[in-house]
């Protein structure tokens, strides 16, 4: 496994962008208030729905709030839901998927049944019905809902992988030697799944950031919190689109897209780590295999 994940340009770029947004989420609000001297919630009556200017680099909203300050503050809300949702989802998919694949039999069938059930239930309408009854939820609750309803795909992948690993000889031999199941799972099976789990986490991060934005857009959100999703929702509600206030809804959407792209690019590297076949997709190798193939086919064509 001597494969340097940072030797890949895509991955490096992804790590830098994602790192930037993590820092923004951690220190952004402090930065806006002390360095920029802005407040995401303050209403500047003299500049309402103002386009970008020196005073407000990204313009202001319909309520005279600074869009730049809101985007920075929103990073915290969105990244928080993204990370918490991804953690909840990944933990559940590991807890369900790995034993399902390792044990098989009745345990495996039961867990697999649960996974399939969550996989086919249409999540969004279900969350809708729930949200209709539960009113005014906080960001923690939203992250949990996203995680709890979003683990099934990952669990299915992990089940398949855990099944294949536990049927390999080295695990079978250890099992026959009387090694305990717990030890086998943690020391023999799990290490082979880290790549999949990491890529699942990154996928979950994108998914949760997008899901939060989507739910906020539908009005299922914490109205007091600022996130990229609530910003776009506020813009939509005040008909920003039909009044041409593009600076209000373009930046938060771009941020979501950047976070998503960064996580996906890192995922490429992780995938190549977990699935060596993909590594052959690098340009150099492609050229070499093409040359070999030509050489192999040459007598045939001649």
């Amino acid at each position: 496994m001597k494969y340097n994940i940072f030797g890949n340009g895509k991955v490096t770029f992804g790590v830098i962008v994602l790192g930037f947004f993590v820092l923004l989420a951690l220190f952004g609000p402090w930065f806006t208030s002390t360095v920029l001297g802005l407040d995401a919630r303050a209403n500047d009556i003299s500049a309402i729905s103002a386009p970008p200017s020196a005073e407000h680099p990204l313009g202001t909203t319909q309520f005279g709030q600074d869009v730049l300050a809101q985007v920075i503050e929103g990073a915290r809300g969105s990244m928080f839901v993204g990370f918490l949702g991804a953690i909840v989802g990944t933990v559940i998919s590991v807890l369900v998927g790995v034993p399902a694949g390792y044990f098989g039999g009745t345990t495996g069938n039961l867990l697999n049944f649960l996974t399939n059930l969550f996989l086919v239930m249409p999540v969004l309408p279900l969350i809708f019905v729930l949200a209709g009854y539960l009113q005014g939820t906080g960001l923690v609750m939203i992250a949990f809902i996203i995680g709890v309803f979003g683990w099934a795909g990952g669990a299915r992948t992990l089940r398949a992988q855990a099944m294949s690993v536990s049927n390999r000889d080295f695990v079978q031999v250890m099992r026959m030697l009387g090694e305990s199941n717990r030890r086998l799972i943690f020391t023999e099976v799990m290490p082979h799944l880290y790549g999949w789990i990491a890529s699942m986490f990154l996928g979950g991060l994108i998914g949760a950031v997008m899901a939060e934005a989507g739910l906020a857009f539908l009005g299922v959100s914490d109205s007091s919190a600022i996130s990229w999703g609530t910003m776009i929702q506020a813009a939509q509600q005040q008909s920003a689109v039909l009044r041409g206030l593009w600076w209000w809804f373009v930046p938060p959407g771009l941020c979501i897209a950047l976070v998503g792209t960064a996580a996906a690019l890192i995922n490429f590297g992780v995938d190549e780590l977990a699935n060596p076949k993909l590594r052959s997709a690098s340009r150099r190798v492609a050229k070499r295999t093409a040359a070999v193939r030509r050489a192999a086919l040459a007598p045939e064509g001649a």
């Binding site: 895509k10 039999g105 495996g108 049944f113 399939n116 059930l117 996989l119 086919v120 239930m121 249409p122 999540v123 969004l124 309408p125 809708f128 019905v129 729930l130 209709g132 009854y133 795909g153 536990s166 049927n167 079978q172 994108i206 997008m210 934005a213 989507g214 857009f217 539908l218 776009i232 813009a235 939509q236 689109v241 039909l242 041409g244 593009w246 809804f249 373009v250 959407g253 979501i256 897209a257 950047l258 976070v259 998503g260 792209t261 996906a264 690019l265 699935n275 076949k277 993909l278 052959s280 997709a281 690098s282 340009r283 150099r284 492609a286 295999t289 192999a296 086919l297 045939e300 064509g301």
Partner: protein, 359 residues
């Protein structure tokens, strides 16, 4: 699957004559599908039961609140049949829970989903039936188009992995698939609807025309649907393409592809029948899941464009707390998803004999 059958299956398949194997496989696929059918029946039952339980778990008495609201909206006391129907769907604290459950199932069996609060006394089933064709038309066609387009492009990119085409298109689609859908829709509405004025800003058809099958009306449906459809395809094909690209990269390196080339088969045949066909399988699982997401996607599309489908119906029901409509839509959506998945499973069995062995 237990470890022992997994090890034994190939041996059995290899030992018998071909005809016996084929017959055995057929029987196995029949059993596999029966088991899946059983699963979907249980899933449907879970959804129905969830719909029954959620209002009864909520604090207060939802059915009393709904009846109250209905009497306020209509300004008269409700007919006894409506009362019974509401209490059947949302609970009557005085009744035995088991009897309620039986009554609830009986109501559903008669397609009685209650009446809308906002559009009293229109039955929920009627509202759903009005919205359904619009959603099926818009989201059904665009999902299929995005799938075909993305898969074809994915084969092209994966077949030539490492070339310039792949190096440009792959990161670009990564970015596109990370863009939130509703945001793309907002931008499209702003650019093509508001700034350029090429497309109408809201609705599914020209409200001045009667709903019919005459050419003028169909033209207006196409005109109103073009922008929402384009946004769905635009944001969905990238995901299909990436998945197909990665799978194609994996199969292109397999020996049987090299052998097929060495045999001198035409490049198109090798590409589609050998590499692509084998790379396709995960795409079909994904397609089944996408059909599950059809209404999720439609929800956002229909809200941005005020398109008169199921998603918009659900959205307005949520805003006005029209519980009967919300729950009716949830049931409908769940059932379509389950049926779509069952169909996808059958196709999958037909395409890949190996799934029958595993189950």
């Amino acid at each position: 699957m237990t470890t022992s059958t997994g090890a034994a299956a190939p041996a059995v398949a290899a030992s018998g004559p071909l005809e016996v194997t084929r017959r055995r496989r057929k029987r196995k696929s029949g059993r596999f599908l029966l088991r899946r059918l059983g699963f979907y029946l249980v899933a449907a039952w879970s959804a129905i039961t969830l719909n029954f339980v959620i209002p009864r778990l909520m604090p207060g008495d939802p059915s009393a609140a709904i009846i109250d609201q209905l009497e306020r909206v209509s300004g008269q006391s409700l007919p006894p049949a409506t009362l019974v129907s509401i209490q059947g769907l949302f609970g009557n604290p005085d009744d035995n829970l088991f009897e309620q459950y039986i009554a609830y199932l009986g109501q559903l069996a008669r397609f009685d989903l209650g009446v809308s609060i906002v559009n009293f006394p229109v039955p929920v089933a009627d509202l759903v039936a009005t919205g359904l064709p619009w959603t099926l038309l818009l989201v059904g066609t665009t999902t299929i188009v995005a799938f075909l387009l993305g898969t074809a492009l994915g084969v092209a990119a994966g077949w030539r992995a490492g070339t310039r085409f792949d190096a440009i298109v792959t990161p670009l689609t990564t970015f596109l698939s990370s863009v939130p859908y509703f945001w793309v829709a907002l931008l499209a509405l702003w650019a093509f609807g508001f700034l350029l004025g090429w497309f109408p800003l809201a609705g599914g058809y020209d409200p001045n025309l009667p709903i019919s099958f005459d050419p003028a009306f169909i033209a207006s449906v196409l005109q109103y649907g073009a922008l929402p459809a384009a946004t769905i395809v635009f944001s969905a094909f990238g995901g299909w393409m990436l998945g197909m690209r990665n799978m194609t990269v994996t199969t292109v390196g397999e020996d049987y592809v090299l052998l097929a080339q060495a045999k001198g088969l035409s490049p198109a045949r090798v590409r589609w029948r050998y590499a692509a066909r084998n790379a396709m399988l995960p795409q079909f699982t994904g397609f089944a899941m996408a059909l599950g997401g059809v209404v999720g996607g439609a929800l956002l599309t229909e809200i941005v464009f005020s398109y008169p489908g199921i998603g918009y119906l659900l959205f307005s029901a949520l805003q006005k707390r029209d519980y009967p409509v919300m729950q009716g839509v949830f049931l409908l959506v769940t059932f379509t998803v389950l049926i779509a998945n069952l169909i996808a499973d059958s196709v999958y069995v037909w395409l890949d004999p190996r799934v029958r062995e595993e189950g």
